[in-house]
């Protein structure tokens, strides 16, 4: 069994009104920032998968991403490998 660390990045589908992104755009003036547009707010999940190999781990995280972490009607996701889970990460989770 090996451990693999992933991030799942979920964003609103292109074309779907994202009121959070709009609210951020609306506040840019207060920060004195200009020239920023098309703000889209999503969500990111980081997780460790225990599996026999990378392909098996990837299959699990893809299923989790498509069935629970995102809704295919309104969101898109991308799975990102952030390296094999280090013992430091596992220990950190355990202590938390």
């Amino acid at each position: 069994m090996m451990s693999f660390r992933y991030a799942v990045n979920v964003a609103p589908k292109p074309g779907i009104l994202d009121p959070q992104g709009r609210a951020v755009e609306g506040s840019l003036g207060h920060l004195g920032i200009s020239g920023v547009h098309d703000v889209r707010i999503g969500r990111r999940a980081e997780l460790t998968v225990d599996a026999a190999d990378e392909a098996a781990a990837r299959a699990i995280v893809e299923r989790l991403a498509s069935e629970l972490l995102s809704n295919p009607l309104i969101e898109v996701y991308a799975v990102e490998s952030i390296g094999a889970a280090s013992s430091a990460v596992s220990a950190g989770v355990g202590e938390g």
Binding site: L17, P19, N71, L73, I74
Partner: protein
């Protein structure tokens, strides 16, 4: 005793007692179903009440969708069983794919808790047949994620196939566009409630169970509750789908 109708309780449900009360007023025998149970105890219909199931974590309704009771509800719905989702219950049904569309964050980004007016697009369904006329019904909404969304092709199909069940309407009874204050959340095409293709599963964001008695400000939600209870009583003797409720009424 009246017909037995299940009310599912998830951790975080908070309209279950109101729903039980309203069903009782309509003559049903409510049966409380816990989210961890896999049996629906032979009820004739199921209501998924409002609240914040599992804290609405990740997306409203998505964690609840995978609970044991929802597996049973999905099977029940597939077999033609009557299921009504109210507010958070609607979100659960949408996440489970048992009704079309999705409920997004309100366009205003604010939680909206106030009275709205909705009109039933159809009065020949198990959920609306007891409504006495095509007049607006006043009842509260209370949600942060209620903006109905589906892509244009799906919206066209829903309208064509009679799957739009309720719309938010303005003072004149006309559908309230996404920017109209009478549309509390920016729902596309003013959609407040939808039906599945088979006509036995419905969801709506407004709360008919909170408009169950005039002392509460409105009893105009009871037409929906009574429709469900009467349809469930009939369903106890065989499957009921949209359209057949009208046939049933005609022979009575």
């Amino acid at each position: 005793m009246g017909v037995r109708i299940g009310v599912v309780v998830f951790p975080g449900s908070n309209c279950d007692r109101d729903t039980v009360h309203a069903l009782g007023l309509a003559g049903a025998e409510p049966v409380v179903l816990w989210h961890e149970q896999a049996s629906l105890e032979g009820v004739a219909a199921v209501v998924l009440p409002g609240g914040f199931a599992y804290g609405d974590y990740v997306r409203a309704g998505v964690i609840a969708r995978f609970s044991p009771v929802m597996r049973a509800v999905a099977g029940f719905a597939t077999e033609g069983g009557l299921v009504l989702g109210i507010c958070n219950g609607f979100q659960v049904l949408a996440e489970a794919g048992l009704v079309p569309g999705a409920l997004l964050r309100n366009a205003s980004l604010r939680f909206v808790g106030r009275e709205v007016a909705i009109a039933a697009e159809r009065r020949d369904t198990p959920f609306t047949h007891a409504l006495d006329a095509r007049r607006p019904l006043r009842m509260p909404v209370a949600h942060g994620e209620g903006r109905f969304y589906a892509d244009d092709m799906t919206l066209d199909a829903l309208e064509r196939d009679g799957q739009v069940l309720f719309r938010y309407v303005d003072t004149w009874g006309e559908p309230a566009g996404p920017d109209d204050p009478a549309n509390p959340n920016g729902s596309l095409r003013a959609i407040a409630g939808v039906l599945n293709a088979a006509g036995n599963v419905a969801g709506l964001m407004p709360h008919p169970e909170r408009a169950a008695e005039s002392i509460l400000g409105s009893d105009e939600g009871m037409g929906i509750v009574r429709s469900l209870v009467e349809s469930a009583a009939r369903a106890a003797h065989g499957p009921v789908v949209a359209g057949s409720a009208v046939a049933g009424s005609a022979v009575q």
